[in-house]
Structure formats: C-alpha cells, structure tokens
C-alpha cells in the first residue's frame, strides 16, 4: 500500500475543482475517489481539457464539406483537422495555444508549444511540412517584453529548426493588454495520403496499449489544470515546475519512427500524450472507441526512481505517444522504434468494460467509468453580459482630432512602430527552407508552399486584430476570418478551411463570456458567407493577470489551395512602369485603427464595417486574376491603411525596394484617406497591357476600382501628401524592430 493524502473536499479545491464538481465526482463513483482518481478528474474536467465553458458555442461553426469546396475528411474532435487537396492527397493542420507556459518560461514554453502541435499532426499519419505562429507580447517598452520576445523566438526556432519543420510565416503584435499574459499560438500543417489517415480511437478488446518515446519524468504535472486553466497572479512564477522541457531531437526520431510505423498495418490508433499526459491520451482514445482501457503503471518507462502513480498519470513530459497496436504485432512495433533508438513498451490493453483502470504494485488505483471523464463531464452555461463601457468605447468624433502637419512623418512613424515594422529580426531566426517546399518565404500576405509532385500549392496565413475584437468582438471575429481568407485570395490561393485558437480571459467573468460568444458569432457568419469550414482548433481561457483579461484574441489560421502553384502572387511591386490600382471602396472610418493608437494614443471607435457579399466577390476576382496571371503584385490593405499598404508594396521586395508615384482623389479627410482601415480593399500592380482584362473582371464582379499611379522612381510619392526616399524608408522599416528589441537592456541581458 503506497501512502497518499486523504481525499477531502479541500484537497479537491486545491486541485482546481469546485465544491459542486467534487460532489459530482462522489456521485459518479458512488464512493470517495482515490488520490490518483482525484488527480485524473481534476485534469480531465479542467477547462483546458473539457471545454466545459466553450463546448456548446463551438458547435455553431460550419465544420463539414461546403458545396463546391474540397472534401473535409476530418473536422474538430481529433488530433487535427484534414482537408482533401485531390483524390489522393490531403492536408492535416491545427493551431494551438501555449500561452501560460511561455509567459512563465518563454524558451521552453514556446518550444514545447511547437513540439506539441507537430505531434498532433504526425499522429494522424501526416508528414509535417510547414509551421506558422501568432505571437502577442506586451508593450514594446514594458521592461519584461524584450526578454519574453527573445526567449519565445529562440524557443520556437530552437525546437522547429532542430525538428526539421520549416516556419514559413506568422504574425507578431505588441499591445499593453498582453503585458501580464503573452500569447503563443503555434500552427503546423502536414501532408497525408487520403487513404492512410490514422485516428485516435481505441478498438479491439485485448489489443495491447504501447508507450513510445521519452521516459516519464516529473515535469509538467498539472500543466493543464493549474497552469492553463487559471488566471495569473503574483504567485504565478512559482508554477515554473509545471512547465515542460522539450527535446526536439527525440521528437525528430519520433516523427520518422511513427511515419515508418504507419506505412505498415501494425496499429489501430495512436495519440500524442499532450496536456494531461497519459491520462488524457488513454481516456480520449477509449472514449472515442467506446471501449475501456487498463494500464499497468509499473510498466511505464521512467526517468527517475520513486515516481508515484499520481505523478505518472499527470506528468506532461514531452515527446511521448500512446499506441493501440494490433495483438501480435508488438515485436514489429518495437523493432521499428528500436531502429530509431526509441523505446516501445506494452503498458496495458483495451478492455470492453468502459472503464479507465490503472494498477500500481498489483493494487487498482484508478477505476473510473470513461463517460464520467468525457461525455458526462460538466458543461457550463456561464452568464454573459455586454461590458458597461461597450457603447462608450465605440464613440469617436474625428472632427475633434487635429490633422497631422506632416503626413510623411506619420507614415514613417507607423512603419517603424513595432506592429508594422518588418518582422525580419524574428523570421531570420527560423529555418524556412527545410523540406524544400517554400515558394513564398515570410514577408508577403500569405506563405506559399508547393506540394511536391502535384504542381499544386498551399497558401497559409494567420490573422487577428485584437483591437478590433476589444472594441467589437463580433466584427473583430468576422474580420479575423475575412482578412485571413483575403490574404490567401490575393496570393492566388483559394481559401478552404481554417483552424482557430480562441484566446480569452476568464470565462467566469460575464463580460469575457460575452466577448467569446460575440467573436464566435462573427467568425461563424464570415465562414458561412465565404464558404469556409473550421476543422480544428483550441480554446484558451484564463488569459488574465491580477484580474485584468487580455484583449479578446480569436486567432485564425487559414489554409488555401492553389491548383497551379506557379500562379501565386506576392505583395511587392516588381516592374517599373506597372500601373497601381486600388480595388474596393474607401469608407470614412478611422475607428480602431493603428493610426489612432500610434499617433493619437486612442483605442476607440467602431472597427470598420464588412460587406460579406462584396468581400466574397473581391476575393473571387483576385483568384480569377491570379489564375489568368493579370497581376504583378497584390496586397491586402490592413493595419495602417492605404498609405502603409502602398509603402509595404514598395519596401518589402526581397531583392530591393521600388518607388511609386500615386495620386489620391476623394473628399475624405487626409488621415482617413491615408490611414483608415476600410475592409475589402486590395492594392494591385499590373502591366498597362493587362488593364482591359482587369476592367472586365471588376465590371463582372461589381467591384469598384481606382487608378492610383505607377511603379517606379526612387521615392514613394503620394500627391499631395507626402514624398519619401524609398531606400531610407526601407532601411528604417527593416531595422526598427531589431533596435527596439535588442536596444532595450533588461536585467536578464548579459
């Protein structure tokens, strides 16, 4: 008999459970749980694992095949979503958060976030071929920010570079709203043969359950329940032992060994031991299969002696997988892992009793009906309420704002502000070449990778404007989806599906629940209008510190398909003399803009409106034009408005900047015209000979357009507002972030 604490209601509260939940456990078991069982309930019923506050809202998303769209082979509920590219090939992808660990221990927090999402993808049988990430840090001048940025970027690179999956794109934002709670959202996409998909559903009574990969240590215990499912306070630093440590070398071996294993007919199911480790992988596999599962905990390979059964069940040690093998195939499985110097042990078997059972020294320490941990877990209808200051924050009288005296200075200031400055300092720390598929490297609206041997390509973008979401979560959620799809469409990739990472504050706050519901409704409406399916994702609540929630941040990772990858389009001007054309309408809006925040210090006003019908026609126009190779370049207009988008088209060209001469007409205020963020607008450049074709397309699509000027010269000239030497502007834009991150000395710098 091993010694364990006596289970009481107080002990349950210490595990993050509520008193009601503890009584629910007593009822489900008709007895007092063992210490180990209490640990299992606490992680499986945690917000992070159970989605108890969010589950009923997530059902609103369209998750199945859209008429005329590619087949959705797997929607939410598995390790990752799957979309068919053609009859033979499919892509597997998911985005996931690793926010709290990254704030506490930025290098390993971010690194293990990358490792976890890569495992989710190869677990389904796919070879991971591209990663993205979405990062949100506090204000650039907050004392902690440089340390966190350096640690997170080094962690993402340290893991991704070593495991051999290229990081091909992403986004990085800075906002004081994340000072006490940064966001690290990691996305990976893999390719798979459509007839070789592996799912995580334990079947076949008597089949052996095998443990493969790294040995189990004491790291990451209660990561899911105490770290991911609670807000931060002054004592959060003490949670550092709950952060896992990653080993990308072992993960690389696991990828190769698992993919080799899946070439043969040896296993029934496979799942990553992610959040809540051995417990969740066992319970979820048995839950999906409608079976039971029994483990002999003495068989689990361990890193050190005297690890208790409680720790074995809850450890989040990385680079571990649980496999249900076909009976009789154990030795073949072991041989494959041995070739890669990895251990594979039989640790249990599938049962027909619907129970999760675990033995330790011959004693049964766990005996829980699986449904109590999965389908019958608590689901909450949390109260939701619009924040009291919602209407007030949308008020914005721009007539009271002074007009800038020097628009060139304002444009320079915007382009050197941390959110708009080049992210080169970040991306050059990531391997974007490995796998040999990267057609468009980080720095354009969407990353483009080719699919070898098919002539096809995939477009990838990750987006969210959290200022929009703060001021109007419905419209902000909608724009996150719309902008992601637009980034793909302007790049020539037809948007087909997305994965979402919903980062919010505490769901126990009615205002946060309201933000969550509104954001989902906006995303849903955009998906329905644009014909997009949500195939995977995760929810990250409790992103707050000392009672202050982060701005709502529903990050959207969008995936599009190019039927001919050579027809991709990049955002930068390419040819002197090309015409510059604006597609779409400019509305009289400055609400929620980057300009207001950077120049006037204002986070106010309503985010720009979206006409979903017009948006859809605009995206279709861009796709048709890309297929017919009408454009030299196409660039979505986003943060910073028309002037920033024009400047980016001039200065983001990797081979060197190009100037432009532009004339803007209209009766709008100059700052609205230059820096307003009206949606559904694109800047394109094209040879003069292609103009009639573009006019035919815009006419057919009922999309307004305006001739702005032409590419060329050594300046960016916007008549009658500004003239800036392009080489100097490019240098300022490229070096601004490096200076701001590495120039700020912090106590942790050596």
């Amino acid at each position: 008999m091993h010694n364990t604490p006596t289970v009481t209601e107080q002990l349950a509260l210490d595990h993050g459970l509520t008193g009601d939940e503890y009584r629910r456990i007593l009822h489900a078991l008709s007895r007092t749980p063992t210490f180990e069982e209490l640990g299992v309930f606490s992680v499986m019923w945690s917000e992070h694992c159970s989605y108890k506050s969010s589950r009923r809202f997530l059902r609103q998303f369209p998750t199945t095949t859209v008429p005329g769209g590619p087949e959705i082979l797997q929607g939410p509920g598995e390790n990752a979503g799957i979309v068919a590219v053609d009859d033979d090939l499919a892509v597997v992808f998911k985005i996931e958060s690793h926010n709290h660990p990254s704030f506490i221990e930025p290098y390993h927090g971010a690194a293990t976030g990358v490792g976890g999402i890569i495992r989710d993808v190869f677990t389904m049988g796919a070879r991971p071929i591209a990663s993205l990430n979405s990062l949100r840090f506090g204000a650039i001048d907050h004392p902690r920010t440089p340390h966190l940025v350096k640690g997170v970027v080094a962690g993402i690179g340290g893991y991704g570079n070593c495991v051999g999956v290229p990081t091909v794109g992403g986004e990085v934002y800075f906002d004081a709203g994340y000072n006490g709670n940064i966001l690290v959202n990691a996305f990976t996409l893999g390719t798979i043969r459509a007839d070789r998909i592996f799912r995580a559903s334990a079947a076949g009574v008597g089949n052996p359950v095998m443990y493969v990969g790294s040995r189990t240590g004491r790291d990451g215990i209660h990561g899911a329940s105490l770290l991911a499912s609670r807000e931060f306070d002054a004592k959060s630093e003490e949670l550092r032992p709950a952060v896992q440590v990653g080993d990308p070398f072992t993960e690389k071996l696991l990828i190769e060994a698992c993919l080799e294993l899946m070439q043969r007919d040896l296993i029934v199911a496979i799942q990553d031991m992610g959040a809540a480790g051995l417990t969740s992988s066992s319970v979820e596999m048995a839950g999906r299969g409608g079976t039971g599962l029994s483990l002999n905990l003495n068989k689990i390979p361990t890193r050190e002696d005297n690890i208790s059964p409680y720790e074995l069940l809850l450890s989040e040690s990385q680079e571990r997988m649980l496999i249900v093998a076909k009976a009789g195939c154990e030795q073949d499985v072991q041989a494959i892992f041995a070739r890669w110097d990895l251990q594979a042990e039989v640790v249990g078997h599938v049962t027909d009793d619907g129970l999760f059972r675990a033995q330790w020294d011959g004693e049964e320490v766990i005996r829980i009906p699986i449904p109590a941990l999965t389908d019958d877990a608590p689901v909450y209808e949390r109260p939701a309420q619009q924040p009291a200051d919602f209407a007030a924050r949308q008020q914005l009288d721009i007539s009271t704002l002074p007009l800038p005296s020097d628009y060139g200075q304002v444009l320079t200031r915007l382009l050197t502000s941390p959110n708009l400055a080049s992210k080169e300092w970040v991306f050059r720390q990531y391997d974007s070449f490995v796998c040999g598929n990267t057609v468009v490297q980080p720095g354009s609206d969407a990353a483009i990778i080719r699919l070898k041997g098919t002539g096809k390509g995939i477009g990838l973008s990750v987006d969210c404007n959290s200022r929009y979401c703060l001021l109007d979560p419905y419209r902000g959620g909608m724009i996150a989806v719309v902008e992601g799809a637009r980034n793909l469409a302007v790049s020539g990739a037809r948007p087909v599906a997305l994965s979402d990472c919903l980062n919010f504050g505490s769901p126990e706050k009615p205002e946060v629940m309201w933000q969550f519901q509104q954001a989902i409704a906006g995303m849903r409406d955009a998906c329905l209008a644009l014909g997009l399916a949500v195939v995977s994702g995760n929810v990250s609540f409790y992103n707050e510190t000392e009672g202050k929630p982060i701005p709502p941040t529903p990050t959207v990772a969008s995936v599009g398909i190019l039927s001919d990858v050579t027809h991709h389009v990049t955002q930068w001007f390419k040819q002197e003399g090309d015409l510059i054309v604006l597609l779409g309408d400019t509305q009289p809006t400055l609400g929620a803009s980057e300009y207001l925040a950077v120049v006037h210090g204002l986070v106010a006003g309503a985010p720009p409106e979206v006409n979903l019908d017009q948006e859809k026609r605009l995206q279709q126009l861009c796709l048709t034009a890309a297929q017919q190779q009408v454009f030299s370049s196409a660039h979505d207009i986003a943060e910073g408005g028309l002037a920033v988008a024009l400047a980016e088209a001039c200065i983001s060209r990797p081979e060197g900047a190009m100037g432009a001469r532009v004339t803007l007409d209209g009766n709008l205020r100059p700052d609205v015209l230059l820096f307003g963020e009206s949606q559904s607008r694109v800047i394109v450049s094209l040879p003069a000979a292609s103009l009639p074709l573009l006019q035919t397309l815009t006419h057919a699509a009922h999309i307004p357009y305006a001739m702005l000027g032409e590419v060329g010269g050594s300046d960016l000239i916007i008549t009658d507002y500004l003239q800036l030497p392009i080489a100097h502007l490019c240098h300022q834009w490229r070096t601004a972030l490096t200076q701001q991150i590495t120039g700020v000395r912090t106590s942790t710098d050596q």
Binding site: G158, F249, K252, L253, Q429, F433, V434, C435, G436
Partner: protein
C-alpha cells in the same frame, strides 16, 4: 552518377538532398544509414544538414563515431568525392577530414537568409565546373557557422588554396557586413589538400529550383559529374 546521402539520427536536409539530387537533377541516389558500414557502391557522398544526434556535446562530435563515418573516412582518404553541407561540414571538421572548427554565430542567434558566396578555387571536385571569382547565391540556416582555425592552419589553407568559398556582398567584395556569422576571413567553405572533400555552411541543395528562389546550387553537384 551514384550518390549516397547519409542519414544520421537528427539529419534534416537528407530528404531534401535525396529529392534534389534524385528528382531535380536526375541522379541515381541511395540513402546511407548511420548504423551501417556499407556504402552500397556509391561514387560520391553527401553529408546533409541537420542536428545529428541532437548536436549534443558539440555539433558533429557524435556523428563522427558512427559506423557509416568510418566508411566515409576510408572513402574520402581513397580520393572519393565527399560534400558536407552545414551539419555535414561540422561533421567533416570533427572527423579530421577538414581542418578547423565551427563555433556559435557571433550574434549568438540562429540565422536563416540568402547569402552570396564567391568561388575562391576551382581545384575541387565540387567547384571544378565554376569559374574562379564566380558569385553564387545560396541560403544559410545555422546557429554555429562561424569558422575558426589557428594562425598556422589558416596559413596552410591559404598556401594550398583550400579556402573554397567566402561570403561577399552584391558586388563580390569581401566586407564585414557581408559576413553573416563572424566567420574567420568571411570563410564559408574549405577543402582538403586533395580537393575531393568540400565542406560549406550554405545549402546548395536548397538552391536547385528557380521556383524556390534560385538554381546556383546546381553548380556544385554538376561539378562533381563533370569529372
């Protein structure tokens, strides 16, 4: 020509080298496994990039003790052409097939970007098809690509024309700003005295197709074919 591409545990660009040499350049390729000694009759060997054995201890330090490396060393000593790229270069230095060592980048950060290198000698198996002074555009992606030697070794390298590639700017000049990682004398690659073993930090296997950014890497592999 039959090429052998070695896979160590933690090799990453081995698959890209197999694809590049096989599918793009139409060569006969075989994968060589680190636990084997059999070179399967190959006529040239590629040691790919990556993090062999996790690069634990020191980059390339463990890979040199693998069974396949004993065969590679015999093959190289007998005059067989061997190209080490990135981690492959590090392994060649650790194995003693090439002089010098590679240490952490001056910036202390991993760097991934396109660079330009100048061909300093055509008297190697992998630059024989280039012209002296030719500039090649190849990507780098490494954290430990700063080449170092002692003064005596550097003099030997210079005296025997063993410096194969140096980082240059767009006009072909050797400048401080063209040096991405603090490497000695802008050195990007070196050869042995016989010219059959070449190591470089840039990745020619990632510069074989125009769609992926450039084709200059072909020249290294095609050089080996011409002889």
């Amino acid at each position: 020509m039959k090429w052998g591409i070695v896979t160590f545990p933690g090799s990453l660009d081995d698959r890209d080298s197999l694809y590049g040499l096989g599918t793009v350049l139409g060569q006969h390729t075989v994968n060589l496994w680190h636990k084997d000694r059999d070179l399967k009759g190959v006529e040239a060997i590629v040691l790919p990039g990556g993090f062999s054995y996790g690069d634990y201890l020191r980059c390339g330090a463990l890979a040199r003790f693998s069974p396949i490396m004993q065969s590679v060393i015999e093959f190289a000593t007998a005059g067989g052409p061997v190209l080490g790229m990135c981690n492959g270069f590090q392994i060649l230095c650790e194995s003693g097939l090439l002089p010098g060592a590679l240490v952490r980048n001056r910036s202390l950060s991993y760097i991934c970007e396109w660079t330009r290198i100048r061909v300093e000698t055509t008297r190697t198996r992998f630059t024989a098809g280039c012209s002296a002074g030719e500039i090649l555009r190849l990507p780098i992606k490494h954290g430990e690509g700063c080449y170092v030697t002692d003064e005596a070794t550097l003099k030997t390298l210079k005296d025997h024309g063993q410096i194969v590639f140096r980082y240059v700017d767009a006009t072909g000049q050797i400048t401080e700003s063209a040096n991405p990682n603090g490497t000695l004398h802008n050195i990007a690659g070196v050869t042995n005295k016989a010219g059959n073993v070449v190591g470089l930090m840039p990745h020619p296997e990632h510069a074989l197709e125009a769609m992926l950014g450039g084709e200059d890497g072909r020249k290294l592999f095609l050089s080996a074919l011409a002889h």
